[in-house]
């Protein structure tokens, strides 16, 4: 599409200047630092460093712990994205049917959104606490030998559950407004053309929500990758045995706890590349199927 060109003026640049400054200071500069660091090997006391080319990268990717974190991140992100989108969509469709209650649902579900990830993690901690946690007791009571401190599946279950619970609210709001953006007459036309509600949903509602879903997918994958850091840190802390380490959490652990700055920088650069690749794939292949 051809855009209308206005006469050039400096005002727009002034408007975006603060944003550019923020990006430069908080993103470009640290990213540059990370790339620089990732080629260096420091001695144990941080007194001298040595340029080692790609050794940090080779060490990172060859490391079994990193591969495990990568695997967990994949599963975790897929589950969190799929479940939080799926549950939110179901809730939004149901809420949209009862037009009266919609605003009540909206406000109620909105609360979870206002909770910071570490706080959500702390709440989860309480619920899953072996002594006072209701959910802990509940799962054990129904015959599931639940212990997230020891069992890596259970630990994964806890972080997925909390991460999904925290994210459903955001998705719900977007889905609901997406649903309300679908013309009433289009829904009515579909009502006359198609008897089955399920079929109507998959042939009319879902395709018309595709832009919302796509947008939320990008947001959710980013969330699962990065923002769940706080949840993991306050619940499992990567335990047991690093089985709930996401890539981001491992960067933090190796860099700040393990003081391996070169290694964790290399990891974060790899992470950056993965995210970049994912974003490109999403926009290239999925967005093409989305009708705006």
């Amino acid at each position: 599409m051809k855009r209308v060109q206005f006469e050039h003026s400096t005002i727009p640049y002034l408007f975006i200047a603060p944003q550019i400054a923020i990006i430069a200071i908080f993103f470009i500069w640290p990213a540059g630092q990370a790339i620089h660091q990732s080629f260096l090997l420091e001695d144990a006391f941080g007194l001298s460093s040595q340029f080692v080319w790609f050794r940090n990268y080779v060490d990172t990717i060859g490391d079994a712990a990193w591969l495990q974190a990568a695997w967990f991140t994949t599963i975790f992100s897929a589950l969190v994205t799929f479940l939080s989108l799926g549950i939110a969509l179901l809730l939004a469709v149901k809420a949209n049917e009862v037009i009266r209650g919609a605003s009540t649902y909206k406000t109620t579900l909105m609360w979870a959104y206002a909770i910071a990830p570490p706080v959500a993690g702390l709440m989860g901690n309480l619920m899953f606490h072996p002594l006072i946690g209701d959910l802990y007791k509940f799962f054990n009571a129904i015959g599931w030998d639940f212990n997230h401190k020891l069992d890596s599946f259970d630990a994964g279950f806890v972080v997925v559950l909390i991460a999904v619970w925290k994210q459903v609210s955001v998705n719900f709001i977007f889905f609901l407004s997406g649903l309300q953006g679908i013309s009433k007459a289009v829904n009515e036309a579909a009502l006359m053309d198609c008897k089955s509600p399920t079929r109507r949903f998959w042939t009319i509602t879902f395709p018309l929500l595709a832009p919302t879903t796509f947008f939320l997918m990008v947001i959710n994958i980013t969330y699962a990758f990065f923002e769940t850091f706080g949840i993991i840190d306050t619940t499992t802390g990567g335990a047991p045995g690093g089985s709930t380490n996401t890539l981001v959490y491992k960067v933090f652990q190796d860099g700040f706890r393990g003081a391996d700055l070169g290694g964790s920088s290399a990891q974060s650069v790899v992470l950056m590349i993965i995210v970049l690749a994912l974003t490109i794939i999403q926009f290239r292949f999925i967005e093409r199927k989305v009708h705006y």
């Binding site: 007459a185 009502l191 006359m192 395709p207």
Partner: protein, 354 residues
């Protein structure tokens, strides 16, 4: 093709709004029925009850003598054309037209034949692979029609389908809809607030006011013989001339104006004299006199407007005349009407007295 029957249907919305207050009518096979009335009179609600998009609070609706109150919209075998077209934005024109057929389990080849046929009939066969947002308003309108036609339903429902089009296209589509309906012979209900559309399309017209039928009949019958003041003023363009009056000493009195020739009217109530602009003509022995203030030249005929003289309040009159009758502005002009063309209404109830 089907008959449709409304048996004393009522609609009360959950918020308490009484949109339809007891409407009955029997629609014949292949008939083109138009619901016309001012905005908010309940005509869309009635149509939507037939479509199954609104529940029926009371009464029942029959299609082919079968009560369909609790039949789902998709199973009623009716197709609707919406005001804003309501096309599926993510489907092509072909997809839009095929959707209803696909869901009814027709074979692909059969669907294709039907879609192509309808597209040809509506002259949209060149756009079959376009998305709705790549079409003009008129083309979208045709696609919406096509989507209804391919279904070959028992009943067509139209809810102000032309009101989003420009004036020229509106006239063109109006003619096309009429032709199409004639050719297909499908029973149709058409909702509009536009009296011209109503007059030109309808086999029978139902004038709706406040959720009730004021009068129903052939357009020309409603024009010539309105039963109420509402129908008289709603039907007919230009608008009927209305002169407030009282009946005193066997004369219809309006200020200093006294009109003889009326009888058997009540003396103690306010009346309204109604005369259509077509039935007034300049005549030196005319009963009414106006001071001309505007002449509209429409081409073949002119509309002359002026203030009625000697009347108690400022009443504007209008009459229709030929191209070459061009009275001067501010000139006085006497107008004559035949007694048989004068209608008299009770002002407060709207009831026709003569």
């Amino acid at each position: 093709m089907a008959t449709v029957k409304l048996n004393n249907i009522k609609k009360v919305y959950p918020n308490g709004a009484e949109a339809v207050c007891g409407v009955s009518m029997a629609i014949e096979n292949g008939e083109f029925i138009v619901f016309v009335g001012p905005s908010g009179c309940g005509k869309s609600t009635m149509l939507r009850m037939v479509a199954g998009l609104e529940t029926i609070t009371k009464g029942d609706i029959e299609i082919d003598s079968k009560v369909i109150n609790n039949v789902s919209p998709a199973d009623r075998d009716v197709a609707m054309v919406f005001q804003n077209y309501a096309l599926y934005p993510h489907m092509t024109v072909r997809g839009n037209m095929a959707y209803g057929l696909k869901n009814r389990g027709l074979a692909k080849a059969e669907i294709n034949t039907k879609v192509n046929e309808a597209a040809k009939m509506l002259k949209i066969d060149d756009y079959l692979d376009r998305q709705p947002n790549q079409l003009s308003g008129g083309q979208r309108q045709r696609v919406a029609m096509g989507r209804a036609i391919v279904r070959e339903p028992k009943v067509f429902l139209f809810d102000e389908p032309l009101s989003n089009l420009d004036a020229k296209l509106r006239v063109q589509m109006r003619i096309e809809i009429k032709r199409l309906q004639r050719r297909m012979g499908v029973t149709s209900i058409y909702v509009t607030h536009d009296q011209t559309e109503a007059m030109t399309l309808a086999d029978r017209l139902a004038v709706i006011n406040d959720g009730r039928i004021e009068q129903m009949g052939a357009p020309i019958e409603l024009y010539n013989n309105p039963k109420t003041l509402f129908v008289a003023s709603f039907i007919g363009a230009p608008h009927i001339n209305l002169i407030p009056a009282r009946f005193e000493n066997k004369k219809l009195v309006c200020g200093n104006l006294k009109l003889p020739g009326f009888k058997n009217l009540p003396e103690d109530i306010e009346l309204v004299l109604g005369i259509r602009p077509d039935f007034l003509r300049p005549d030196t022995k005319g009963q009414l006199e106006i001071q001309v203030d505007l002449v509209e030249q429409h081409g073949a005929d002119n509309l002359v407007y002026g203030a009625l003289k000697n009347s108690s309040n400022d009443t504007e009159l209008c009459f229709k005349t030929t191209q070459n009758t061009l009275p001067d502005i501010d000139s006085n002009l006497k107008l004559k009407f035949e007694q048989k063309h004068a209608m008299v209404f009770n002002k407060s109830t709207g009831e026709r007295l003569i």
